[in-house]
Amino acid sequence: MNTAAVADKEITGGMNYLVSIPRRVVTIYLPLGIFLFVLLFPFYWMAVTSFKPNAELLSTGGNPFWLAHPTLDHYNKLLFHTQYPSWMWNTILISVTSTFGSLVASVLAAYSIERLRFKGSRHVGMAIFLAYLIPPSILFIPLATMVFQVGIFDSKLALILTYPTFLIPFCTWLLMGYFRSIPFELEECALIDGATRWQILLKIVLPLAVPGLISAGIFAFTLSWNEFIYALTFISSSENKTVPVGVITELVEGDVYHWGALMAGALLGSLPVAVMYSFFVEYYVAGMTGAVKE
């Protein structure tokens, strides 16, 4: 009985059966609890603040961790008295189009580098990796002058066209790794059966690469949702702003901070990516670690 229990623990927990429970509490659960508290507290604080009436926000008495009189005032102000809904719509539109466009370009590029192996494909693959490492903060000034000269300054098109610069390298790099894991014998069979390269890509490789496509798509979507510096630089009129830029530039009037509305805006703006992430956690993690591991 006792040995069976030990054996059972041994299977599930490696050599953990050697460590006593109180010891595990101190060495694992306690530090983990502290980590979780610190990592999640800002979200709790955001949520609580967004439901607090102004009087409660600005009073120093009472218990600030709790809601005495929850209110939806801040959400009401945000949704009906600011342009928040249109920022949200812009962000969705820009993120979805740039993600989709980048995915199409990346699938073609990754397939071509990894499978067609044209002359110089290795160097192109390396160049893609280097492009992944170029941060937007050194590109925004020249891009701003370009966007201005082309005449798409202050338009959503400026962002839709520039976001792929950081999405394509990432997606291509990720998909290259994914395509590599698909056995090329499948493609050889299809070639013998007379399929063209285009048919192979559409009917053999893409269906097998769906998990990779989801990983790349989710990650790209969150990256473009997160983008700030291009949106801050290229967009000036309120109705074209994205959520991060709009919240920062429009909800602060001079020195008056509408904390409740700011928090509501931050929370609502985080919600779409958080929901999407919660549905595709495994794909997201695979995308993130895959891009680093390759």
Binding site: P31, P142, T162, I248
Partner: protein, 319 residues
């Protein structure tokens, strides 16, 4: 009897249609490869390679917003070298990158080791740990802004109630405190990324190595030092390069929390470049500051490159 001649005439050979020129062209992998590369390559060349060159060029001009600017050689750089704000921003950038990256590494590794243990609800915990990383930085920075508020900071409130301090802390108003505050916010956001990536690395280490170490009488620290760390070092090299790169060029967090203040104490090169170029209108000078970041980025990229080489070598694969 006439034998029908037709029997002896070999049936018309199935004509092998010679593929048209176009069909052959589209079967040529070199041609097709370049064709498939076209959309991505075009976009990256126009919106990445060209601006990169243009940025370096702008750094040598006195371009202003709405004025093309003329070639002035290294005048921008000569000015920047003497500019105390720029020198401070370089120092800040290094300080910020070094402290934040070191802390993120230590805490991230610790969190990864904790998550690698057998714990209930492991998948769920791993999922929520990553939340700070996926939420848009600007929006979580707003939460930190409120947490760091001079009058209503929750941290100050708790510390006052506990009797540790008497007056509320002006987190973002004092140079040293402001630096600490932005670094802490950066660490908060970066730890999950590093932890989850290192966790993926930890999970590839074979348990038999630990068992062998245990049989040899290794204590937990020795197991960590002689098994975990060496096995993890290639992935550490890559993850930390990414982390250093993104911390070095950070913009969002600083811009939301302090905009470089108080008295430029938290200005990083990226924020200074933005401030001079866009609100300030000095595009040439801003571009020069941005260009000044490139050598450091190159150093980090080379480091990453050799990290990858070493990984290949360790795995024994030839490619």
């Amino acid at each position: 009897m006439n034998v029908p001649q037709t029997e002896f005439i070999p049936a018309a050979r199935p004509t092998v249609a010679t593929p048209s020129f176009l069909a052959r062209l589209f079967d040529n992998r070199h041609f097709l490869g370049l064709l498939f590369m076209l959309p991505a390559a075009l976009l990256l060349l126009v919106f990445m390679t060209y601006p990169l060159g243009l940025g370096v060029f702008l750094g040598f001009t006195d371009a202003k917003v709405g004025r093309p600017g003329e070639w002035i050689g290294i005048e921008n750089y000569e000015f920047l070298v003497t500019d105390s704000v720029f020198r401070l921003s370089v120092w800040n950038t290094f300080l910020y990158t070094f402290i934040a990256s070191a802390a993120k590494f230590v805490l991230g590794l610790y969190l990864a080791l904790l998550l690698n243990e057998h714990i209930p609800f492991k998948a769920f915990i791993r999922a929520i740990v990553l939340l700070p990383f996926i939420v848009p930085t600007v929006l979580s920075a707003i939460a930190f802004w409120w947490i760091y508020d001079a009058q209503f900071s929750i941290v100050s409130w708790v510390l006052v109630k506990l009797g540790v301090i008497d007056t509320y802390i002006n987190f973002l108003g004092e140079p040293v405190l402001a630096r600490m505050s932005v670094i802490i916010a950066n660490i908060w956001r970066g730890v999950p990324f590093i932890a989850i990536c290192l966790l993926a690395g930890l999970q590839t280490i074979s348990p038999s190595l630990y068992e062998a170490a245990a049989i040899d009488g290794a204590n937990p620290f020795q197991k960590f030092w002689h098994v975990t760390l060496p096995m993890l070092s290639p992935i550490i090299a890559v993850v930390m390069t990414f982390s250093v790169l993104f911390t070095f060029t950070d913009f969002q967090l600083i811009w939301v929390l302090t905009r470089g203040g108080p008295i430029n104490a938290t200005h990083l090169m990226a924020t200074l470049s933005f401030q001079r170029a866009i609100p300030g209108g000095a595009l040439g000078e801003g571009a020069a500051i941005a260009t000044a970041m490139i050598p450091f980025l190159l150093a980090a990229i080379l480091f990453s490159y050799f990290g990858l080489q070493r990984r290949r070598w360790q795995q024994g694969t030839k490619d």
